[in-house]
């Protein structure tokens, strides 16, 4: 279902304009992600009093300071756990978790997979810029193999997480991946995620020119953004050489390089119906909750 782009333009009412200017670096992709989310909320006509946004620690998590909802900026990686308590106490609220790839997949990986397993009605947006930005460009669990960061000066020897496959396996009932290069499809993904009953997970590939781009000579923010358009090829290349993601291609064709299909899937990757936790709890207690 496409979002309503007319009302979506009213997303600015969700911003705390008085908090500007923001702390994000020039060329950072995070604003595009937030913009897509806010447009989706505006397109659905969501009352800001009925939204709580919960974040961890990192560049993306700081975004909650700039949105005019009830906002909870928590500790590193723990946002899904705070959000779980809040959602259980106030199931009527739209509780949205903002997290980064380090926040959500390293220090907070355990909380994220358990929130997914519970299928509690949260929307979790994971900003994946493949690096720790706030602390100065260190290795993330999403940094592709052989890439350079502040703590991998000779290249990263570890493989990266595929967040969407991880969350699907953990039990998330809505899993999608978007990219900052395509904000309109991203907005549609956000709108569908907001409409989903259960744990919805949206990973967005975003860019950090200041650290990840600089360490790996990937150019300006705009150049990194445009490079996402070549992502299928780039990913195929990484698959062949750098194991950014596990190769899905079967047979010898993958290794030969000629038949490698893009391993990084975009769009809605997984959707299923399963009882949402707060509704299940209400049903189990015979509707005792007020």
């Amino acid at each position: 279902m496409p979002a309503d782009h007319r009302t979506a333009s009213e997303y600015r009412r969700y911003l705390r304009q008085e908090m500007m200017p923001h702390i994000l670096c020039p060329g950072c992709g995070h604003g595009i992600v937030l913009g897509a989310l806010l447009r989706a909320l505006a397109g659905r006509g969501v009352d800001p009093d009925q939204v709580a946004m919960v974040a961890g620690i990192g560049c993306s998590s700081r975004l909650v300071g700039y949105v005019d909802f009830c906002t909870l900026h928590t500790t590193h990686g723990r946002a899904p756990a705070f959000a779980t308590g809040l959602k259980l106490a106030r199931p009527e609220l739209a509780v949205i978790v903002l997290t980064g790839d380090g926040d959500g997949l390293a220090i907070g990986g355990n909380h994220l997979i358990h929130a997914a397993r519970r299928n509690i009605g949260l929307l979790c947006v994971l900003f994946n810029n493949q690096v720790y930005g706030m602390t100065g460009g260190q290795l993330a669990p999403t940094t592709p193999s052989f890439q350079r960061t502040a703590t991998t000066p000779y290249g990263n020897l570890e493989p990266a997480f595929d967040a969407c496959r991880l969350l699907t396996a953990a039990g998330a009932t809505f899993v999608a991946r978007g990219m900052t290069l395509a904000p309109v499809p991203l907005q549609d993904i956000m709108a569908q995620a907001l409409a989903h009953k259960g744990f919805a997970f949206v990973e967005v590939l975003t860019e950090c020119p200041e650290y990840y781009g600089r360490y790996n000579r990937l150019g300006t923010g705009a150049e990194m953004l445009l490079a996402q358009g070549r992502l299928p090829e780039a990913v195929a290349d990484r698959l062949a050489r750098k194991t950014f993601l596990p190769v899905r291609e079967e047979g010898a064709g993958a290794a030969a390089g000629g038949q490698v299909r893009p391993g990084l899937a975009f769009g809605i990757l997984h959707r299923e119906e399963r009882p949402e936790l707060t509704e299940a709890l209400r049903a189990a207690s015979g509707g005792a909750r007020g």
Binding site: M19, P48, D49, Q50, A52, V54, V64, G65, D68, F69, C70, T71, L72, H73, T74, T75, R78, A81, F82, A83, T84, G85, L86, K87, L88, A89, R90, E92, L93, N110, H111, H114, L281, A284, S285, A288, R289, G290
Partner: protein, 395 residues
Amino acid sequence: MSAGDRAVPPEVSLLQGNQACARGAIAAGCRFFAGYPITPSSEIAEAMAALLPRMGGVFIQMEDEIASLAAVIGASLGGMKAMTATSGPGFSLMQEHVGFACHAEIPCVIVDVMRGGPSTGLPTSPSQADVMQARWGTHGDHPAVVLAPASSQEVFDLTVGAFNLAEQLRTPVILLYDEVIAHLRERVVMPPAGGLPVQQRRRPAGSVEAYRPYAAADGKIPPLAEFGTGYRFHVTGLAHDERGFPTQDPAVIGSMQRRVQGKAERHRRLLPPAERLLMDDAEIAVFAYGIAGRAAREAVRAARAQGIKAGFFRPRALWPFPDDEVCAVAAHVRAVVVAEMNLGQMIHEVARASRGQAEVVGCLRADGEPIAPEEILAAVETASRRGAGAGTSHG
């Protein structure tokens, strides 16, 4: 039960400390529990899992203790009175969020049933070795309110008290007891609903625009709105201003730090009083808390039977530390015997607060066994025999 019922008798029950804790929490209005299984606290979670769904409350078992306290804070921001319970290793994991709750001023109750440590230690044996962790476990300056019950009845009463203090002060309150209190079954008298003083947090009454979640202009604890009630505000673990937004202004940070850090100190009058016994003419005072306090009470009575002028002082609130009371005790005794089940933690506070007025000696035990009255009696006898000593010694 209708409002027309009069003189509902209190319920009397034989309860473990841990069961009394759950009953106290329910009586205080707690409707949310998040926890992670750990001996010797698990009976609290088990009791809450049975009780809460029947009262419209929520029980959830989280993936670890870090998440447990996070969920509790989230639920409290949602307007529910919330608690968690754990033991030393889990309490260590919770320290991150003890600091968050202190700094963001979110009311909640944390029960730490102490077992032998460090590390995995002695899961099924008592200790009192978390008293300093309860005060200083999380980083940074912060207020600490820590209550130490010594019986099932007191666990019930002080659990109610812990919720009341948490709501009144907008801060986490820690209930600290040990494995013996947790599992000892004793008679507990529980007043009927409405028969207990139950406090609620201050909530904002003014306009949404004027709401300042961290402003204490009138010297009171700032009101806390719950999420989803139209007051849109920001909560962060970063240093923040009166509106809750991050700030680097030294003047704002300095005054916020002092206000939050000083909350417990400024509200000492709300803390449960210490138990005193035979202190009027005492020459030897025994300072003990929790289960060790019960052994100490027996030791003091036995010492009196021998003609030793011994007295007994048992704080029910360990933090903020009863400086003035301990100072006054030290002023008119020769020696203070500190009996605790660790290798010497509160003894340093007693020595500090005594200001050299009395000899401070320890009766310390840290082998997984509860301290016995005979051990404390022996320490009292020794202190008595030494006569009028001067100065302070530890251990």
